[in-house]
């Protein structure tokens, strides 16, 4: 009786989880193509998928092993994210990239217990850059605190190195994601002498009239913006409506995509945003993508997002993951690597400018080297500006380094608090 039940239950369980061939490398794609943030999730997932398709078609996979990228819809919802994680982890998942700060916080304790690396480029828990506490989490090349510091550095450059007496307003998404830069900006305001005002915007951010009226009254010199989804396009539109000088309006990398600026038309001209990866379709790799992926009909989704900012970012994540897997294969001496070996690969990863050029992505990202204690990379980001007439983002700076002097103690403090709450001992010592 129990045996039949067990067999029935096993069959039911097997039926509900489709398993790929064990020999493949499995990189689950926890994406969101529905829900309020679909506009950002769709191009990211497409870029992610397309790069792995390219590797499979052109090179036969990584180290001869094909990469399987099962997609699981999370709709940016934490419960669905947990369900997707549980459903895919048993398939030999090598690394997770959920593109959601909420889901990341969920998964950090789970991946540490299950032994699967979590790669959260440019989002998630910032203090995970401290590899001494967060063994399984990697967030290179940059995190939100780096971004805040880079934005301030850019403003310092624009003002001859002095921001004394200036007013900077931070408009942020009223959630964990939006609150990330506040502490850093407060420290930087003490250091550089500018006044910081923090203006929250409730999710989903469709109505921002009060906040922008306040900006119009206060007349800050600069506005920094931490938004996602519809909040971005509404903010750009409202900024244009109150005729705020767009070149003084700087968004974080998740607030600087085509979706955010196209609706405002010419009013968005001059809007700036940060980015930690290159954008546009001018890279040599796109010739390969065209030949092996787009023309072969294997493009992910509708195939119309290539070259856009978020598509490039998804591609960047795929590039880093594939390089880490390559490194893991090198360290383990076999192409069939498991999650723990991939973690070692992430920790030993070094991205050089030469390697990026080899991949057909010269200047696509910053060079960095991870180490046992450094899971956060160099932290640099570039500034791009929107040209509304040409409908194009132009890079107006090289990679700007963040202020590590201010950031390092903050990272150490936050990761120490996490370690204390969860009884984690420091490693790498």
């Amino acid at each position: 009786m129990k045996k039949t039940f067990t067999m029935l239950a096993a069959a039911a369980i097997a039926a509900t989880t489709a398993a790929p061939a064990l020999a493949d490398l499995v990189v689950p794609n926890l994406s969101y193509r529905t829900g309020p943030f679909a506009a950002g999730g769709i191009p990211y997932a497409d870029g992610f998928n397309d790069y792995f398709t390219l590797l499979n078609e052109r090179d036969g996979g990584i180290g001869g092993e094909k990469v399987v990228v099962p997609e699981c819809e999370t709709a940016y919802n934490t419960e669905k994210g947990v369900e997707c994680y549980e459903a895919t982890k048993g398939q030999g998942a090598l690394v997770y990239n959920p593109l959601s700060t909420g889901i990341t916080y969920q998964l950090i304790p789970k991946v540490s217990a299950d032994g699967i690396p979590l790669y959260t480029p440019g989002y998630g828990r910032t203090s995970a850059a401290n590899g001494k506490i967060f063994q399984w989490v990697f967030n290179y090349p940059a995190n939100y605190w780096d971004g805040a510091s880079v934005a301030i550095k850019h403003l310092l450059d624009q003002n001859g190195g002095n921001l004394e007496g200036k007013k900077i307003a931070l408009l942020y998404h009223n959630s964990a994601y939006g609150k990330e830069p506040i502490r850093t900006l407060q420290e930087l305001s003490k250091k550089h002498g500018f006044t910081l005002s923090e203006i929250p915007i409730d999710s989903p951010g469709q109505e921002q009239k009060s906040q922008w009226l306040q900006v119009r009254r206060d007349k800050p010199d600069y506005v920094l913006f931490w938004g996602w989804g519809v909040m971005n396009s509404v903010a750009v539109q409202e900024a244009a409506n109150i005729r705020f000088p767009m070149e003084n309006f700087i968004g974080i990398w998740w607030s600087g995509s085509e979706n955010d600026v196209l609706p405002a038309g010419d009013g968005a001209n001059g809007y700036k945003a940060l980015t930690f990866n290159g954008v546009g379709g001018d890279y040599p790799v796109y010739a390969d993508l065209k030949k092996y992926v787009f023309d072969a009909g294997k493009a992910s989704g509708a195939g119309d997002q290539s070259g856009s900012v978020i598509y490039s970012r998804g591609m960047y994540a795929a590039v880093i993951i594939s390089e880490a897997i390559r490194k893991a294969q090198e360290l383990a001496g076999t192409p069939k690597v498991n999650a723990a070996q991939v973690r070692d690969g992430f920790e030993a990863l070094e991205i050089t400018d030469a390697r990026l050029e080899e991949l057909g992505l010269k200047g696509f990202g910053q060079a960095f080297a991870a180490s046992c204690g450094d899971h956060g990379g160099a932290g640099g980001a570039m500034v791009q500006q929107w040209d509304a007439a040409a409908k194009k983002w132009n890079l107006i700076s090289g990679f700007i380094e963040p202020d590590h002097e201010v950031l390092d103690p903050l990272v150490a403090e936050d990761s120490a608090a996490f370690a204390a709450e969860n009884n984690i001992a420091e490693r790498c010592n």
């Binding site: 529905t34 109505e207 119009r216 396009s233 509404v234 409506n241 009013g267 195939g303």
Partner: protein, 328 residues
Amino acid sequence: MPDQLLYAIEVSLNGLMAGIMYSLVALGFVLIFKASGIFNYAQGVLALFAALTLVGLQQGQIPFSHVINAIFGTDLHSFGWTLPSVVAIALTALVMVGMAWLIERLVLKHLVNQEPIILFMATIGLAYFLEGLGDVMWGADIKKLDVGLPQGINETIDAVTFNAFGYGFFIDNLDIIAAFVAAALVLSLTLFSQYTKYGRALRAVADDHQAALSVGISLRFIWVLVWSIAGFVALVAGIMWGSKSGVQFSLSLIALKALPVLMLGGFTSIPGAIVGGLIIGMGEKLFEFFAGPLIGGATENWFAYVLALLFLVFRPQGLFGEKIIERV
């Protein structure tokens, strides 16, 4: 004039404008509640669906293209033509009438005489269904809605107030247009319900279903009519909100902003929807202006409800709602 006072006036004016935008959504709720006693949770989704259809028709998108491509492996996206806004709006209105007819046929007819909470639940199911349908038909990415409405600061008011007070008020052009549209809508609805045969029939049905039936009014026809009008109101609301923030999923959440308006104005009153909207809009913006810096901002969401709650404590049926008479 002292600065704070000027700012307060500007904030109040913008609050009134915002209130009108809320009222546009609340009107749809009121119409349906008056005529059929149903609290239509799907009103926000109807606005989203209407806006999606409008954009799709305007840009010549092929409906269900994603499904067709997925099943048949084709790569279709658009018909290639674009429609002028007026034609697209007229066609969308027709679609909403068709939608109302379908809803009456498939859902309302079978649920006659059920308890209000069951009907509410049915509209929730309808909301889910329409949301999924809208996404499947037209896609889930953000679409720009452009029917030629001007946006941006109204230069005349800015110049006039700057000359008068030394500080130029910011009133958005779109909000001004929304105010005129809302006024026109309310006027036409009032005229319709007071002076036309069907308007009288609507009021009869709102009063007592059985009595209306007994004098020969076709309940089903009135329901289709009411849902069509509500659908058209949803289209107008969808156009206004969609022009502001693009057409995507969050548009359906405007229904949540309309709920305090309904509470305050009463579920069954059209002027109540307008007055309620004005009070809520002004109240929440003024509260944010004064108390926001003290307690941290982003208070608009909950303050609207608290304000409505305060009014309800003194008048449990809303400012203009029908007095609740209970017989024991």
